[in-house]
């Protein structure tokens, strides 16, 4: 259930994403999702890729500051109310979402939400108890 996400520090300047993207492409690594959190000066690239160990190694070898963090991927219906159902399940038990982002599946009517929690285990238990489908990394990469 736990998904390994790769985070990387980049300066907020033109061209600074090209090099890491090229490095991953050259090694045949598929980027399943990419989210850029940015400030005026710098950004954090968060990625879920086909081979996170290899990707982390390649980026580190080329001098990038990389961290691997565990996140949860949740499948929701891609229609109004989909997100609300998940958030309601998490409300009221003090589980803080550190950050989240979403992306749609290309050929279904579902979307994937990626969550980073301060307490991943508690969130996982809560979501499972509420009958919410957590996506495994295999599913995420094959869908």
């Amino acid at each position: 259930m736990r998904i390994q996400q790769i985070s990387m520090f980049v300066e907020n300047k033109p061209g600074h994403l090209t090099m890491p993207a090229r490095l991953l492409a050259e090694e045949g690594i598929d980027i399943r999702s990419l989210y850029l959190a940015d400030t005026q000066q710098f950004g954090i690239v968060r990625m879920i890729v086909s081979d996170w160990q290899k990707a982390a190694r390649i980026l580190e070898t080329h001098g990038f500051a990389v961290k691997v963090t565990e996140v949860l991927a949740v499948e929701v219906a891609d229609r109004p109310g989909g997100l609300t159902r998940i958030l309601v399940a998490l409300d009221g038990i003090g589980i803080n979402i550190e950050y989240m982002y979403a992306f749609p599946y290309s050929r279904t009517d579902e979307a994937i939400l990626i969550f980073r929690f301060a307490d991943l285990d508690a969130a996982m238990a809560r979501l499972q108890a509420a009958g919410i489908n957590l996506v495994t990394s295999e599913e995420l990469l094959t869908k």
Binding site: F9, I44, K67, Y99
Partner: protein, 443 residues
């Protein structure tokens, strides 16, 4: 010999015996050598003779060590102005080696050695390394650049002279440096302190724990570094870090070095006579006063240097070192007189920036100061590399780090600076020396 220190002297490496010369004997030797070197330069070096004549001075006027203050200074520009061989005192047939350092502007500086000069150079480096507790059986990796730069070959000859096993890796190729350090069981490393910091970072990325390696000593020099940097290096790598001092104009590395007391750097003053002068007026300053270090080579043949202005700011420490060496010590050099930046009228030294950065836990001092002028106002930006250790994948945590750096710098410098977090390894490093200041202000 002073009875109290007999043990220390008798246990030392044979080359280190001069370190313990009784003071009256040392001063006699220095005076004799000073008189000889002044005579040599007066006979053979036109620039020096002209300056002596202008002062109405002759070599016979040097009757005591204090008379050194009468002699004219030599500056870096003198080496440039007489490029390439104008300050040589030996004919080329007696010169066995030339080194050159890239000047920051224009022509390089050329320095020359006779065979005896090379032998003296080797002997002072043996004394440096022996003072750091190294000996035959040690495996020493020399990661200073080999070539025209004096660092690599100087340390190499010294390590061989000591009887140690030398691994001459020269600079660069961090991964290979780390692999050899581990595979060969290297016990001592010679490089710049910033390059060693880089190796510590890189080793961590490669999963090599420096603390587990047989490495026990680092002899770091060729750039000023701070006490807090020493603590950081020693903590991260479990080694004993030594500060070594030298400059090509005088001989190269090995002008002075710390002993295991780490209370200043002993100057091998039987060969290099130290003075401290006021950097503005050139007036001699008493021991204990901070000023510019001026050095005179007492035994150099190919290129004697009389009262060379090093631009390094330090003081001669009072009193004798607990190690028993009679050699005087200088304080660690934290800054150079030409390092000082004036920003909006405030004096700023790069070493202050470094000290402030080190106060923040987890920050390694890979940084660069960029000066610009915007609408007539000086702007100072401090770029700090985000290492894997510092990196956190939450924006808030990085902003907090940014804020901490900002307030530490504002506090120490007393002026507002801009802090920029930049990608790891994005700040250019040359020859293993980090270029700390980029000044884009146009006058």
């Amino acid at each position: 010999m002073n009875a109290m220190f007999e043990t220390a002297a008798s246990e030392c490496h044979p080359a280190s015996v001069p370190d313990y010369t009784p003071l009256p004997e040392l001063r006699d030797l220095q005076l004799k050598r000073l008189q000889a070197v002044v005579t040599l330069a007066w006979k053979r070096v036109k620039l020096f003779r002209t300056r002596m004549d202008e002062r109405g001075l002759a070599p016979e006027d040097i009757r005591s060590l204090d008379d050194i203050a009468k002699l004219p200074f030599t500056q870096k520009s003198d080496l440039r102005d007489t490029y390439p061989f104008g300050l040589f005192a030996s004919p080329m047939k007696d010169v066995v080696r030339l080194h050159a350092s890239s000047g920051t502007t224009g022509k390089p500086i050329v320095v020359a050695y006779t065979q005896k000069d090379v032998d003296v150079w080797t002997s002072v480096l043996v004394r440096c390394f022996a003072g750091c507790g190294l000996h035959r059986g040690d495996i020493m990796q020399v990661a200073y650049g080999y070539g025209l730069f004096t660092g690599g070959l100087g340390a190499h000859y010294g390590a061989e002279g000591l009887g140690a096993t030398v691994v001459p890796t020269s600079g660069g190729h961090a991964d290979r440096q780390i692999m050899l350090m581990r595979d060969f069981g290297v016990t001592a490393m010679c490089c710049t302190p910033t390059y060693f910091l880089h190796l510590i970072d890189r080793a961590a990325e490669l999963g090599v724990d420096m603390k587990e390696l047989p490495l026990r000593a680092g002899i770091f020099g060729a750039e000023p570094w701070t006490e807090s940097m020493r603590k950081h290096i020693e903590k991260m790598s479990s080694i004993e870090a030594f500060d070594i001092y030298g400059l090509s104009e005088i001989i190269g590395p090995g002008v002075g070095c710390e002993c295991r007391r780490h209370q200043g750097l002993h100057i091998f003053e039987d060969h290099f006579y130290p003075e401290i002068v006021d950097p503005e007026t050139g007036a001699p300053l008493a021991d204990g006063c901070e000023g510019e270090l001026v050095l005179t080579t007492l035994s150099k043949q190919a290129m004697p240097m009389i009262r060379y202005r090093t631009r390094d700011i330090t003081s001669i420490l009072r009193g004798q070192c607990g190690c028993g060496r009679t050699l005087r010590r200088i304080d660690r050099i934290g800054r150079r007189s030409d390092d000082m930046l004036i920003i909006r009228g405030v004096n700023v030294f790069p070493s202050q920036v470094e000290a402030a950065l080190l106060e923040i836990e987890g920050t390694l001092p890979h940084y660069q100061i960029v000066l610009t002028r915007v609408q007539g106002l000086d702007e100072m930006e401090v770029q700090v590399e985000v290492t894997p250790q510092m990196f956190n994948d939450k924006i808030g945590a990085l902003q907090e780090l940014h804020q901490k750096l900002q307030s530490a710098l504002d506090h120490v410098l007393g002026i507002r600076v801009r802090v920029a977090l930049v990608e790891a390894n994005s700040i250019e490093r040359s020859e293993g020396k980090a270029k700390r200041v980029i000044d884009r202000r146009t006058a």
